[in-house]
Amino acid sequence: MGKTPQKGCSVSAGAPTMTSDEALMLEFQGGSRAAFEELFARYRKPLYGFFGRRLNNPERAEDLVQETFLAVIRAASRYEPRALVRTYLYSIALNLLAAERRKFSTSSTLGQSASEPKTDGTPEYALWVRQAMEKLDSPDREILMLREYEQLSYSDIAELLRIPVNTVRSRLFRSRLALKGYLESEAKTNPGLRASAWQPHPRRRGPQ
């Protein structure tokens, strides 16, 4: 439940700095290839995760990451620094996702394709989590995923989905409680599975 990384362009006590995404985007608008490559390096993996969880199709996820950046190139002149690059990229990604779903007439938020998620040694548990997520209402699930996996702030999510921030908060609250209920209920039927999930897992999210 971490907060979205902020624009790292200012300094204060104990606060490290880095070139902000927005500064990189402006540099790219001005003709810098290096700035684009840095943005690509920063967001390639997060965007792959975004598409990967929603489509569950590694090949398409990879294609859509490239398409997202293609859209960035084509619309570079229209980007305005009042929008966070992070939010901007996910807004493009959401549009591409919607188009992809329309193309394949997929109604579910989570993918229905044949390939299974890469689960890094805990396939049953990852599948269990995914199935619990599928029980949530689609809008609630999307908010929960944007928060937990994309780590967007409430206001970013509100902006992307064009709903009030309070709605984001209340739906997030509801979906977390519901998910807790689903997971606990599943745990009762398969206690060993959940216990295995709490083993040390060196590849879980951490500093990258």
Partner: protein, 335 residues
């Protein structure tokens, strides 16, 4: 949960755990959470859900920029370059034909503008920052002693901070609120520990929880005491800088000891108006060191050079490494 007994609602507690509350609200939430078993259970539930969701990982293949993307990028950059050249030529033509008029106009503007500039310079300088000078001291103090203790402790995991010495900021500087057992010192730094040229140097909203290890408590913490003492004495920035330089020259201020570091893993801190809570991280202190020796600021390097003391009077280099969890054990965003 009966909200009559709880100063914060359940949704607010969740928002606190998500780092979505303002510094004041977060402090209130943290303070209540420390004392309320019911809220601690709910917080544990939320953290548990987040933790379980981490099981669904998606491994990204190591793929670079595709040929199609590369071609589009090349085309875009080429067009941009062409536009720059065209624009530059056009500008040159216009300027050549009009330079005489522009020059004359410029002379008039300089004469008229000089007076206006001189008279408004001070006003403009003041407007350049939202916090041009020190606010009254009470704006920097936290009225709730327990809240400041909880905030200070939130800088490090409980296994460290529970036995640490706790300092609180009072009217006369930092004072010991709780004696420690493990040599660590936890406290909440204020805005004046920012670089001297920072726009947030006098920002009264800044609250930076930190837990120094014993080496840093001996060799870095004295800098905080020194700056705080001078701020409370009303010294100017120039006076403070001179005094710090003199302090290092005459060995009144120590060099960083080997192994000096601190924890900054609080989700309830407020680093400045741009960064807000920021991300949890650790800081390591050295005498002036080339950042390349740590590979800091290089692409994909997790190490960053912190500018807190860069170009400042303290001869200290400070490296930062972001970590994956807040002090309460919940996952945090990657840098």
């Amino acid at each position: 949960m009966n909200t009559n007994r709880h100063p914060i609602e359940q949704e607010e507690l969740m928002a606190y755990l998500d780092g979505e509350l303002s510094a004041d609200q977060a402090t209130e939430a943290l303070s209540h959470l420390e004392l309320c078993p019911e809220c601690q259970t709910l917080a544990a539930d939320f953290r548990g859900v987040s933790q379980e969701l981490l099981a669904w990982e998606v491994e990204s293949p190591e793929v670079g920029i595709s040929s199609e993307l590369n071609a589009a990028l090349g085309e875009r950059l080429q067009k941009r370059q062409a536009a720059k050249v065209t624009s530059s030529r056009l500008e040159n033509r216009v300027m050549t034909s009009r330079w005489v008029w522009a020059g004359a106009l410029a002379i008039v503007c300089v004469v008229v503008g000089l007076k206006l500039t001189l008279t408004s310079r001070k006003r403009n300088e003041d407007r350049s920052t939202a916090y041009p000078s020190m606010a009254s001291i009470e704006k920097y103090l936290m009225p709730d002693r327990n809240a400041e203790i909880a905030l200070a402790r939130s800088a490090a995991p409980e296994a460290i901070s529970s036995d640490a010495k706790i300092l609180l900021l009072g009217w006369r500087g930092y004072e010991t609120a709780i004696e420690g057992k493990n040599g660590f010192v936890c406290m909440v730094e204020r805005s004046w520990m920012s670089p001297f040229n920072s726009a947030d140097f006098w920002n009264p909203k800044v609250r930076v929880p930190q837990c120094f290890n014993p080496a840093a408590a001996r060799s870095i913490l004295p800098l905080t005491f020194k700056r705080t003492e001078m701020v409370l004495a009303g010294l100017s920035k120039a006076q403070m800088i001179d005094s710090i330089k003199a302090g290092f020259d005459n060995k009144e201020l120590p060099a960083p000891e080997p192994g000096a570091m601190c924890y900054m893993m609080s989700r309830a801190g407020y680093l400045n108006d741009s960064l807000g809570h920021y991300v949890p991280h650790l800081m390591f202190y050295f005498p002036l060191t080339d950042k390349s020796s740590w590979g800091a600021d290089l692409r994909d390097s997790p190490v960053t050079l912190n500018p807190q003391f860069r170009d400042g009077p303290e001869p200290i280099t400070e490296f930062v490494i972001a970590v994956g969890k807040w002090s309460d054990g919940t996952a945090a965003p990657a840098m």
